[in-house]
């Protein structure tokens, strides 16, 4: 390595370069001023609700009946709407999301054609196509009337309905009105959705999992006015908080699980169930309220009677329920520091034995872990229900699909005697989906983000916490998302949109709205902020916005406000661009101090000169006869003089220099430190902290973490100085794969090729695990034989 020398100058003069037109595109640290909304009295610059923060209140009083013969919903409700906004409202928007099940809905009309490139089409796809064509599950609104019974004019626009008010609703005023409706429930096994029924041929029963089943208020907000963008499938729900009284009438032999607390157990529960519920209060373990045997017997019953289950829920943004004769019901009253929560599961025998073993445990685990990272779970109930819906969240209740195989077995990641390790998903699939859906109680059910606009705010934050909860379930839990290295293929692909994209326009939905934000938060936590600081700031965000409606800016601002870490560069890179991480170590340069002492410097220069290779030209000429050898009289002083010889003048000059220097300056000249400059290039665009393993003298390795601000002047190239007595022999960037760096080939000095995944596999495949094991066995037996022979 060439060692350039540093000259120490008493005075350095820098000439400022003439300023030219500003190009901000390379300023990754520019504040997000142009991107974030201007703070106001409703939302502060620190990311907190402002002193005049408001949100509307929508209370619902509902009577609903399931027609089990015809799979219909018939309902009547009184909505009481309180206008807390500073605006006068002449009309209200109400959501009729089940209108998405009209063949004429925007959602249906905008669906994309299936692929007919195959000669085989699954029955599932075929039946869905036909069912979607034939089924009309849109909402029949039969009455809209004021509190005095006067019909209210209205207009239905796809999944939205505008109700014109007889007199404008002034700020602070409250209005009540009535809606009667009915609709056909979708078969969720053919018309897939977040709601619907499942029919069981073997016993002739249904499981109903019902969501967005009642006309509910659209949101009116300070940042968007009415959020009345139609429901077309991806962008989920934007809702108001309120209190709910819901009376659900079902066949008398049904068991109902719902948002809220059951108000009339004496009327609807068997005496034995009520007794078991009382026992469960002090059991501190799982208790069957409806046993598997009772559920199986119940499946055979066909009551012609009806029962009405009454539920009350406070401060929820939605209400969902499930109902069936098939339900086994287990419960565990979980104490959360004095706040007692009923963790409960309802499932058919087809889900056993997986569900009684894992579901309620997974609910409690989720509440415990999430509460630690956010706030204590505030509701009194948390249900997990098995039915036709794969995985969907509502306040206090969620629907989870994974089930046991038909023969009652279930699978996990395990070792088969024949085939080696294999992955099956029923166990971990179930645990993961329950953690995820119960976790949604926090985001977005309580931290009430606008799902119709932003998917990442609930799915991303929730998937991030899900990965933390999974890792606390058991060691080596097979989490699907969160590891930075797993997002690399997505982040390097070209056909992306930023995370900050409306839900309906997101391509690669799973990677964009779940995987990338969850990974970003893991990186932010572990690599950028540190776990403790991140957790405090994240908890502050959750605390500030529980039961309120945050926007992305409120999250970005709070995370900075509570941590004193400027993260605009991070939000800009990860959330507003499609850049990826690829940072290269491009060189290591060594500089040493010029001591100016001729007795040190000249011999050193001499030895460097000797290290220089003889050029080919010099070698060729060396053998040729020289004129000065033939005529020695041509030689003079300069033929003998070596410029690297130390002269008395050199020493005198050095002494003069030393005389001028202060003691501390003279000491600096005697410094023998190595000044290493390590150069980096940013190829991917995203700036990230530099995590380095620096190896000294080929033996000791030091982990150095350099904040991302190293890129603040130039996001394309940067350098870092290391001063050391020792020799730096190796540098490795991102040694623990924590930054999602997409190309590990350029992460090492001296350069070290990291083979592609393909080549690595091919290399390893030469010998598989069984062959290696067989080899080891053979080796062991050989050595045993040898030692025997030796004896």
């Amino acid at each position: 390595m060439r060692r350039p020398q540093l000259l120490l100058l008493a005075l350095s003069v820098f000439v400022a370069r003439h300023a030219t037109a500003q190009d901000f595109s390379h300023d990754r640290f520019r504040q997000l001023d142009e991107l974030l909304p201007t703070p106001n009295v409703y939302r502060t610059a620190s990311g907190a609700p402002g002193h005049q923060y408001w949100q509307q209140q929508a209370d619902h009083d509902i009577e609903v009946e399931i027609d089990d013969e015809n799979q219909r919903i018939i309902g009547t409700e009184k909505i009481t709407y309180t206008n807390n906004s500073p605006d006068t409202l002449r009309y209200l928007w109400v959501q009729l999301e089940n209108n998405i099940f009209s063949p004429k809905s925007n959602g249906a009309l905008a669906s994309i054609a299936p692929s007919f490139s195959e000669d085989k089409l699954p029955f599932r796809t075929m039946s869905r196509l036909v069912a979607a064509r034939d089924f009309d599950g849109s909402v029949h609104v039969t009455r809209i009337a004021s509190s005095t019974g006067k019909p209210l004019p209205h207009r239905i626009v796809d999944t939205m309905m505008r109700i014109d008010l007889p007199t404008p609703l002034a700020p602070g005023q409250r209005i009540s009105f009535h809606i009667d409706w009915n609709y056909d429930i979708n078969d969720a096994t053919t018309v897939r959705a977040r709601t619907g029924y499942e029919y069981f041929e073997d016993d002739g029963n249904y499981i109903y999992e019902l969501a967005h089943w009642f006309p509910r208020m659209a949101s009116y907000t300070d940042y968007a006015g009415w959020q009345n963008k139609s429901f077309i499938g991806s962008g989920e729900f934007t809702l108001e908080f309120g209190d709910y009284d819901v009376a659900i009438t079902v066949p008398a032999d049904h068991v109902v699980a719902a948002t809220g607390v059951l108000q009339n157990p004496d009327e609807v529960l068997e005496q034995s169930w009520r007794r078991r519920l009382r026992e469960a209060e002090s059991a501190d373990e799982l208790v069957f309220i409806v046993t598997p045997e009772e559920a199986e017997a119940n499946e055979k019953s066909r009551s012609t009677e009806k029962k009405t289950w009454r539920f009350h829920a406070e401060n929820v943004r939605d209400f969902a329920f499930a109902s069936s004769r098939k339900f086994i019901w287990d419960a565990w009253l979980h104490d959360m520091n004095g706040h007692r929560v009923w963790a409960m599961s309802a499932y058919p025998k087809e889900a056993e034995p997986l569900w009684s073993k894992y579901s309620t445990h997974a609910i409690i685990h989720t509440l415990d872990v999430y509460s630690r990272y956010t706030f204590r779970y505030p509701y009194p109930v948390a249900w997990s229900v098995n039915g036709p819906v794969g995985g969907m969240e509502y306040p206090m209740i969620c629907f989870n699909g994974p089930r046991t195989e038909d023969d009652g077995t279930y699978t996990d990641q395990s070792t088969s005697s024949k085939d080696g390790k294999y992955w099956n998903r029923s166990k971990y699939g179930l645990i993961s989906v329950i953690i995820h859906e119960v976790g949604h109680n926090y985001f977005p059910m309580i931290v009430n983000s606008d799902e119709r606009q932003w998917t990442w705010m609930d799915e991303g934050l929730n998937t991030f916490l899900q990965s933390l909860a999974e890792q606390e379930w058991e060691e080596g839990y097979p989490s699907r998302r969160g590891e930075p290295k797993d997002i690399v293929e997505y982040m390097t692909s070209e056909n992306q949109v930023p995370i900050m994209t409306n839900s309906e326009s997101v391509i690669q939905f799973g990677s964009n709205a779940y995987g990338k934000p969850a990974t970003a938060l893991n990186v932010l936590r572990s690599t950028v902020m540190g776990e403790e600081l991140f957790d405090e700031a994240f908890r502050e965000f959750a605390r500030r916005w529980q039961f309120k409606r945050p926007e992305p800016a409120d999250f970005f601002r709070t995370m900075e406000d509570a941590s004193a870490v400027d993260l605009d560069w991070f939000w800009r890179g990860w959330f507003y661009t499609t850049d990826h991480v690829d940072i290269a170590v491009t060189g290591v340069r060594l500089h040493t101090v010029n001591t100016e002492d001729p007795d040190i410097e000249k011999p050193r220069q001499e030895s460097e000169r000797e290290e220089e290779p003889t050029t080919r030209r010099e070698s060729w000429h060396a053998s040729a006869a020289k004129r000065v050898d033939r005529y020695p009289e041509l030689k003079d002083f300069y033929n003998e003089f070596d410029e690297l010889d130390v002269t008395p003048q050199d020493r005198e000059k050095f002494e003069e220099l030393m005389a001028k220097l202060e003691d501390d300056e003279a000491a600096l000249l005697g410094n023998t430190l190595n000044f290493y400059v390590i150069d980096f290039e940013n190829l991917g665009g995203l700036v990230m902290p530099l995590i380095l393993d620096v190896t000294y003298d080929g033996t000791d390795t030091e982990r150095v973490r350099i904040p991302a601000e190293i890129w603040r002047r130039d996001a394309r190239r940067t350098s870092k100085l290391f001063m050391t007595d020792r020799e730096i022999t190796a540098v490795a960037l991102d040694p623990q794969l924590e930054t999602a760096d997409s190309d590990r080939n350029n992460n090492h000095w001296p350069a070290k090729a990291v083979p592609s995944r393909f080549k690595l596999f091919k290399e390893e495949k030469k010998k598989n695990a069984m062959q290696l094991a067989a080899e080891a066995e053979a080796e062991a037996s050989t050595s045993a034989t040898t030692s025997k022979d030796e004896r």
Binding site: D119, P122, G401, P402, V433, E459, F761
Partner: protein, 177 residues
Amino acid sequence: MKSLRWSVVLLGLSAMSAEAHRFHASFAEAEHDAERRSLEVALRVEDHDLEDALRLRHGREYELTAGPVGERMARAYVEEHFILARPGGQPLELEWVGWDWSRGSTWLYFEYPLSGDPGDLHLTNTLFLELSREQVNTVNVRVGKALHTLTFLARSTRHHLGLPQASASSGPASGRR
């Protein structure tokens, strides 16, 4: 108009972990090794997609495991759904390298030896489109340091691959970086 006929087949869906949104994706890294004259592919699929696809082909009770039978079936499936072909439609031979299971995602490895002019090849990717019309298949094609992405959807299952001409060395093709 010619009408195309297809068979409707039973597919016993395994219970799959699901979230509130439907999304189906596969990712592939395809790297052009000019020296070996080969296109090397590492393809990541969700194991439940693969299992469902194999159930569709082989019957509803089929359970996928990491053994040689599963590998043969996966290979046969990939050979039908990830096709590199010359302009006339003549497919290139797929050389199977192997597969690897990890955490719900399965990596499949294979390569296509290239001869003649590789610059004019087309890739057809119909992976799992028979299961879901929402399937998005992404192939990141790497030539030297350049990378470009091909996105395969139900409505666009065939793309020009864009490898450099045979006479050219391993220099970067059009693409980014």
